[in-house]
Symmetry: C2
Subunit: 220 residues, 2 copies
């Protein structure tokens, strides 16, 4: 299990610290606001007050020896940038940061953070929501680069009682059904039979390009 | 295309308004802070100042006639809750809200918002990150309920040059490879051949239960 430094206890930092602790990682949670630190003393085994802009403070927290540091202060760009700079200087193997704008992301990339280690939850979720806005059929989606996505789809009324073979989604909509979940049983079947009838209690996992998925999501 | 009311221009609201406009939806963006409204006058066709706690203000914005309203004020719970209440009373067909805590979510559900219409980006992304922390192999994931997830995996060193048949992931790790992307060509192949050799430029799309995927992510 990894030792993780979580810097900043806003909504992202707190949820991260909780989930990491639940996965048995060793977590040190940090915030500059003493009221916040005290609020979380009971919940987190190790939570301390420190200003992450301060290199000395980070070193004395033992930053040098952690496996991963997560800079979870999104809206104070100065603190975020300084902390990332110091953590890289202290040799932390992996530095992850929550960013609050495209510029913030560019700056941290320039400092040497890996693009995959820069997270922008508000933008990612806003984009996903925008694509599902005209329909609740598309329940969730995962963008896959190159314009592909995988989505979970509640079957539109016109699909119910038909077979995958009949629906012929690959030819008619240029998308691929990669799995079907029978929500009554609760398992995902990754090798769906072309002759199985679609039920309204099914969920379809579908791979395709975004425009084709948007079209699919709009079907009644 | 839909008419969408975006209430609150924080990071989530702004990114949402932008993506909706890019998808050709008709967007009315709203914030109570005049400085913010003025800042976005150039970028958004329709942006106005209003206090979303105020039912009259919402009605005069034309809230009654929109297809979707998104309450994107996460950290002011009172404004968020009052706006949701009013929007439901004004008969808006779909009301979506960004929530900032589990309690906030419960309250809005009690007001009649659909659970699928409550988004909590900071928590969702924190949870996803927590699961990928010990490895960069798992590049992204989409939780699928019932403990299932679908993940994009960069092949570990020990997979390179082997066939799916040899790797036998289904029997050895209880996971299913649903597609392989050849990143050199840029397309996803949803019917991967059992005899194709895995290249380091491939990406695997894998369906499985979370503990099995975590194990897979830890493979060297
Ligand atoms: N220099 C600093 N050192 C340590 N903690 C800090 C520093 N500056 C801000 N913080 C703390 O970081 C936390 C998160 O900051 P902030 O709320 O600005 O970020 P955010 O990205 O908007 O948060 P959220 O995760 O809720 O979206 C706050 O609790 C704040 O006290
Ligand atoms: N009563 C209100 N009426 C209209 N706009 C409001 C009201 N209260 C707050 N806002 C605006 O909503 C925006 C977002 O609010 P806030 O930053 O508190 O939410 P957030 O969830 O933390 O945002 P983010 O999307 O950045 O995470 C701010 O620009 C603020 O001016």
């Amino acid at each position: 299990m990894a030792s993780v430094l979580v810097l900043g206890l806003g909504r992202f930092g707190v949820n991260l610290a909780r989930e990491l602790a639940a996965l048995d990682h060793q977590v040190l949670a940090v915030d500059s606001d003493i009221a916040i630190v005290n609020h979380f003393k009971e919940e987190f085994a190790d939570v301390v007050q420190a200003d992450i802009k301060d290199m000395e403070a980070l070193a004395s927290l033992g930053a040098r020896d952690v496996d991963v540091a997560v800079v979870a202060v999104g809206s104070r760009m100065d603190a975020s940038i300084l902390a990332c700079l110091h953590l890289k200087e202290l040799g932390v193997p992996r530095v992850i940061a929550k960013v609050s704008s495209a510029d913030h992301k560019k700056i941290l990339e320039a400092l040497g953070l890996d693009e995959r280690d820069l997270v922008y939850p508000e933008r990612d979720m806003a984009n996903r929501l925008a694509h599902t806005l005209t329909t609740r059929n598309i329940m969730d989606s995962l963008p896959l680069e190159e314009g592909y996505s995988i989505v979970t789809l509640a079957p539109p009324a016109s699909f119910i009682g038909k077979t995958l073979k009949l629906l012929d989604l690959r030819r008619r909509h240029n998308v691929q059904v990669v799995a079907i979940k029978d929500t009554l049983i609760g398992t995902w079947n990754p090798v769906p039979s072309p002759d199985a009838l679609i039920k309204d209690s099914d969920q379809l996992l579908i791979l395709g390009q975004e425009e084709d998925l948007d079209t699919l999501g709009g079907i009644k």
